[in-house]
């Protein structure tokens, strides 16, 4: 099986730094890169009856938007690089879902960016990068 690295990408500049760093590492190691975009979602959140009725429609729209605004442009931008790049869009808890993706593909490493500033909320509940550092099943690189 080819070496696979997973990079989490949310469309932000910090995310982009992580992807660029991951591309460079993958290039050097001759690995493939899987860029994962996770849409935050909990099956235990509460919805109004109207949101429930429209959920399937919204989900389809959200996936389309993620593809056209986040993963699509990134893949196009990186297409000239000497690394095989694939993308994946999923719903779930961001850190947990990245770990699942890494496990499913037998990835060797996870790359994730961080914003660098620590808000009160993040101090209380932890950031994605912080959680990932704690629960990742494989080595995890946090790119500042």
């Amino acid at each position: 099986m080819a070496n696979i690295y997973v990079a989490g990408y949310d469309g932000s500049t910090a995310g982009r730094r992580a992807v660029d760093y991951a591309v460079a590492r993958a290039e050097a190691a001759g690995a493939e890169l899987l860029v994962a975009h996770v849409l935050e979602w909990s099956p235990y959140s509460f919805l109004t009856p109207e949101e429930i009725a429209e959920r399937h429609k919204r989900r389809t729209e959200e996936l389309k938007r993620a593809e056209s605004a986040v993963t699509g442009p990134l893949a196009a931008d990186l297409s000239g690089r000497g690394v095989k790049i694939s993308t994946e869009i999923r719903y779930g808890h961001v850190a947990e879902t990245l770990c699942e993706i890494a496990k499913e593909h037998g990835a060797l490493q996870i790359f994730i960016g961080r914003t660098g500033h620590s808000t009160v909320v993040e101090r209380l509940f932890g950031s994605v990068a912080g959680t990932l550092a704690q629960i990742a099943p494989v080595p995890c690189t946090i790119v500042p």
């Binding site: 849409l39 979602w41 099956p43 235990y44 959140s45 509460f46 919805l47 109004t48 009856p49 109207e50 949101e51 429930i52 009725a53 429209e54 959920r55 399937h56 429609k57 919204r58 989900r59 389809t60 959200e62 996936l63 999923r90 719903y91 779930g92 699942e100």
Partner: protein, 515 residues
């Protein structure tokens, strides 16, 4: 935004002119009350007509017989699959590729927030206040049986929903009665479905709206001091208007998030009060069982307790009414029956757990006055209710019971009641809207007319007195059950086929956990 603002100004101007026009001999509240009672009396009398020569309303028998028939027909399904139901809610059987779609938990939580409300707080107090502690026994029994009705209707709700090209769904009794009857080659599906839709609209104005506004006002005026009901009505109507017409979802979202925590807090406090009075446990359960089977001095004796218990359970958990089928029908699942399994938890949580908590607190804190010599309950002749320590009834009785242990509780209860009332209104505005668009077609104008009517009834409900409002609310909701249950009887063989097929595949291991 401009459009919204203009409509709001127009609405408040109309409210002012209404106020100015009736500043005569009668207050506005009295006028609304009298008009309302005379307009709805015949309907209420028909729905609650007793069997000839008895005081037993036929509608209560209708619901309980149906719940018992479904319980027997599906072989006590509510007890056989409850473990599997919990696994489904936890997501053990959900395909991870469906993440982002409505989960079983979400459908259950939303349907619950439509049912957990004043029925659990005020309705139970009404039942125990008229029917005595014995009503609790019948209420729990009705809740357990009702699980089978809910299971049947929600399975059908998912199976026969309409899925539109844009990805939205519409489901509920209107759809399963029309499609299911056609599938089974039975006539009359369209007429029944239309009739259901009419009653659903009335129910959304009654129990799903006016009763909520009415009890919310009673709570607010109890804490803030007496003031005219229409004021609460107008404030509520404006907030409901902002959410359902203005499309400001954030208010509804906040409520949906707070309501479950309020429910947990409410049950937790109830448990603490029960523990504080644990010495009364033997006496309390003695009263519940004695009241359920013997004459304890209440109006109608043990039968009176039974009627009250069954009535309030049905009103609270809405099993057999068909409303939950509308909320549950949007779940993404390949097996409609799984939504039925999940939905049967609803009457359990709503009635067997939450309603019982309220009843136990009222009984444990000894709010109802017992004649020390005869051991029978003392009747308040003027109201036909059992006399209570402070003369409270409805939500006031629940509030007094909780306040006897925690003096601050009435304030918390006000917040809970207002939030529950609000979330129930939002849910019912959706149920009513679905029925409305089923009858009059989908379209912005049709929707707006319904929504404006809905807001108008908020004001009527807050201004009218409890008696006529509660009668009409019950009558409209039970009328839905008349039609829905006819539909369920005709379609239950379809559900049976689904159950047998699913449980067979579950046993053989064809259906497996994803986790």
């Amino acid at each position: 935004m401009k459009h919204i603002r203009e409509t709001r100004i127009a609405a408040s101007a109309a409210g002012l002119s209404l106020l100015a026009g009736t500043a005569g001999a009668q207050t506005l509240d009295e006028t609304i009350n009298a008009t309302f009672a005379s307009a709805t009396g015949w309907f209420v009398n028909f729905i609650f007509a007793p069997f000839p020569g008895t005081s037993f309303p036929w509608i209560v028998a209708w619901l309980v017989v149906a719940a018992s028939v479904f319980t027997l027909y599906f072989g006590f399904i509510q007890f056989r699959v409850i473990r599997h139901s919990i696994q489904l809610v936890k997501g053990d059987f959900s395909d991870p590729n469906d993440a982002g779609e409505v989960s079983h938990f979400q459908a259950l939580a939303t349907a619950l927030s439509g049912t957990v409300g004043l029925g659990n707080i005020a309705g139970v107090a009404v039942a125990v206040g008229i029917g005595g502690p014995g009503a609790t026994f019948w209420m729990i029994l009705a809740g357990l049986l009702g699980m089978a009705s809910k299971f049947t209707e929600c399975t059908l709700g998912v199976k026969y929903r309409n899925e539109y090209e844009d990805g939205t769904v519409s489901g509920g009794p209107m759809y399963y009665i029309t499609k299911g009857f056609a599938e089974r080659g039975k006539p009359g599906g369209k007429v029944l479905a239309a009739l259901f839709a009419v009653f659903c609209i009335l129910g959304s104005f009654g129990g799903g709206n006016m009763f909520q506004a009415n009890q919310a006002h009673q709570q607010l005026s109890g804490v803030l001091g007496e003031y005219p009901g229409w004021i609460t009505g107008v404030v509520f109507a404006i907030i409901v208007f902002i959410v359902i017409v203005g499309g400001i979802k954030s208010i509804a979202q906040v409520t949906e998030k707070v309501v479950p925590f309020m429910a947990i807090l409410y049950c937790g406090t109830a448990l603490i009060i029960i523990l504080m009075n644990i010495g009364n446990i033997g006496w309390a359960f003695g009263q519940i069982f004695a009241g359920a089977f013997t004459d304890m001095g209440i109006a109608g004796g043990a039968v009176g307790a039974l009627i009250q218990g069954f009535k309030r359970a049905a009103f609270s958990n809405e099993a057999g009414v068909g409303s939950a089928a509308i909320a549950h029908s949007a779940v993404r699942t390949k097996e409609p029956i799984t939504e039925g399994f999940v939905s049967l938890l609803e009457p359990f949580i709503d009635t067997v757990v939450i309603c019982t908590m309220t009843a136990l607190v009222i009984i444990f804190t000894q709010q109802l006055i017992v004649d020390p010599e005869t051991g029978r309950y003392v009747m308040d002749e003027a109201t036909g209710r059992i006399a209570t320590i402070d003369g409270n009834s409805g939500v006031g009785l629940t509030s007094a019971a909780f306040a006897s242990a925690f003096s601050w509780f009435p304030y918390l209860l006000v917040i809970a009641v207002v939030l529950f009332a609000f979330s129930t209104m939002i849910s019912w505005s959706y149920y009513g809207l679905k029925a409305w668009t089923y009858l009059f077609g989908e379209g912005k104008t049709q929707e707006l007319i319904f929504k404006l009517l809905f807001c108008f009834f908020v004001i009527v409900g807050a201004a009218a007195s409890l008696g006529p409002v509660i009668d009409f609310s019950d009558a409209a909701i039970f009328a839905m059950a008349v039609v829905n249950i006819i539909g369920l009887y005709v379609l239950m063989p379809i559900v049976k086929r689904e159950v047998e097929s699913y449980l067979g595949r579950l046993r053989s291991g064809e259906i497996r956990k994803f986790a």
